[in-house]
Symmetry: C2
């Protein structure tokens, strides 16, 4: 029923190999013949079968996009940009949601491996060892994870975090909670490192809370702990957590930024829509999505080539930060 290269060959009176070349190696076929073939193909509505092509070229024209949680507002703009970039390069995109589970992540990559030319891992939860292992079998680009021998796109959350701390310190805060994310996340480490440096310089005390799930619920759950430290400001692991924190604080009668300043990370939808609008570290997610696809396609073409791209972040000051309330110190 479906029209194949053979039908086109018959109609245009040439051999199938000529049809094939008319599509994928134009310079090898006489322009007139090619025109005839293309006309026949058009007439019949012929579309090359990518699976068959994959079988003989071992190039699928597909990419995998593996992500911890599609519904987390951090990801959709990244997915959108990555998908658009892939399409511009005539690649199709598989998407997979791991539900934040490392096991699922690995299995997904493995089951996808034969069907894609490479995969982008967005904020993977796997151990470095496993990722490195997988990278042997299939071209991989990781977003927000630094890994020897594996291509990566990094958003410099460390720099953003430092700016966030300066902002808080500038406002007069001296007791600041830094809220950890998932233990395995690269960003968690970056934020921790970035906040270490600053602590020494000024008379600032850092209280660390976490690790903690990167969700609204995760934010709600730690409010009491945060308050117990006596801190006047919190740097949350991401916007969702920040939002959970703000909401729960309000329920407990604490105002933001009046009683507590809160900074998020991501500059997602949430930060703009929430009230008060969140001060947050902007992550260039669309750019990261595009960059990851470019990097991936490059290492698909030139097997073994890897690279790392680092993207700038910046602090977006909105309404969730203010000077601390003066208390009798």
């Amino acid at each position: 029923m479906p029209v194949t290269i053979r039908d086109v060959a018959k109609v245009s009176g040439v051999h199938v190999s000529t049809v094939s070349r008319a599509f994928s190696a134009a310079h090898l076929v006489n322009p007139d013949t090619r025109a005839r073939v293309l006309a026949a193909a058009e007439e019949l509505g012929y579309r090359p079968n990518r699976a068959a092509r994959a079988l003989s070229t071992s190039r699928t024209g597909n990419l995998g996009l593996i992500v911890a949680d599609i519904a987390n507002p951090f990801f959709p703009p990244l997915l959108k940009a990555a998908q658009a970039q892939a399409r511009a390069r005539d690649y199709h995109v598989f998407i997979a949601d791991t539900d934040e589970q490392a096991r699922v992540e690995e299995e997904l990559i493995r089951s996808m491996a034969k069907q894609v030319d490479g995969a982008v891992l967005v904020a993977p939860r796997l151990t470095n060892r496993v990722i490195a292992e997988l990278a042997q079998e299939i071209p991989l680009v990781v977003i927000n994870r630094r890994l020897r021998g594996v291509s990566g796109v990094l958003m410099d959350v460390g720099a953003g975090t430092r700016r966030a701390m300066e902002h808080l310190i500038g406002l007069g805060h001296r007791e600041i909670v830094v809220l950890g994310g998932p233990a395995r996340a690269w960003t968690s480490g970056e934020i921790e490192r970035a906040t270490e440096h600053r602590a020494e310089d000024h008379g600032v005390r850092i209280h660390r809370v976490g690790p903690n799930p990167p969700t609204e619920e995760g934010g709600r759950a730690v409010v009491e702990q945060v308050v117990a430290t006596g801190a006047t400001a919190v740097l949350a692991h991401n916007d969702l957590v920040a939002f959970g924190l703000v909401r729960r604080a309000a329920e407990l009668g604490l105002g933001v930024p009046g009683d507590l300043s809160v900074i998020g990370v991501d500059n997602s939808h949430v930060a703009r829509y929430s009230s008060p609008a969140l001060t947050t570290v902007d992550m260039p997610v669309a750019e990261a999505g595009r960059g990851a696809v470019d990097l991936l396609l490059r290492s698909v073409d030139a097997a073994g080539s890897t690279g790392t791209v680092t993207l700038e972040t910046s602090l977006v000051v909105r309404d969730s930060t203010a000077p601390p309330r003066i208390t009798g110190a």
Copy 2:
């Protein structure tokens, strides 16, 4: 380099066809042989090549998910649910973003057709004719579109809209703006129809504004028009539009719900995060995503079978609606 069925056959000392059957037709092979084969496969790390399988079975084990705008907060929970359901059925998912363009949508479906067993169109922008045409070539399920001969999942936005109108009328509003969405969207029609009925019953006047893009910008752009009607309440096309409206109104010195009541549609993230939290018509998107995949797989198995599922919606009352300000009437 990659390990194939042939390698497994060699190691386990049987013919490739036996290996194949050991995987896909267990009852046709002796349990002991099968155990041997499976052991060999495990040892070699064999994974069946889905593309090759597709070639001989003409079943790909893939699904397409085609969506107008991944970054629109309405979609991600739907995508997530659909993807999870597909995975549970051992299907992989292609995702494609059409950027709200009908042309792109059609091309995307066509280029995907050979690689998937079927596709889910989420809120398609195509004409009925084209969709029906495509449905001849490949199993299709449309979400939020009613179409003879094509499976669909409908969220009963009409019922939700009626409840929204009752809510506004109950609060005392008598001049209400109904804001249209994209001309082609099924939901636009449903909302229009649902609001017609109500208008006659009570002494209520409906002002129609639109069609209008379903984005925040779309909301911002129409505030002046809305105000000009003298209405005290607006039913927006979706939460994003409602949010844009609220923000822009604030910039013009109009308070919500004080000066204007606003109702959204979708019950997306946005509605919860925004301030004031939006009263909105809840759409059961996760359920729709799951339902669409189930429906699709059913019509993949039983070619030609179609069905329609209608899901309930409900009104979620939050803080963006209140009685109208008393004016000297």
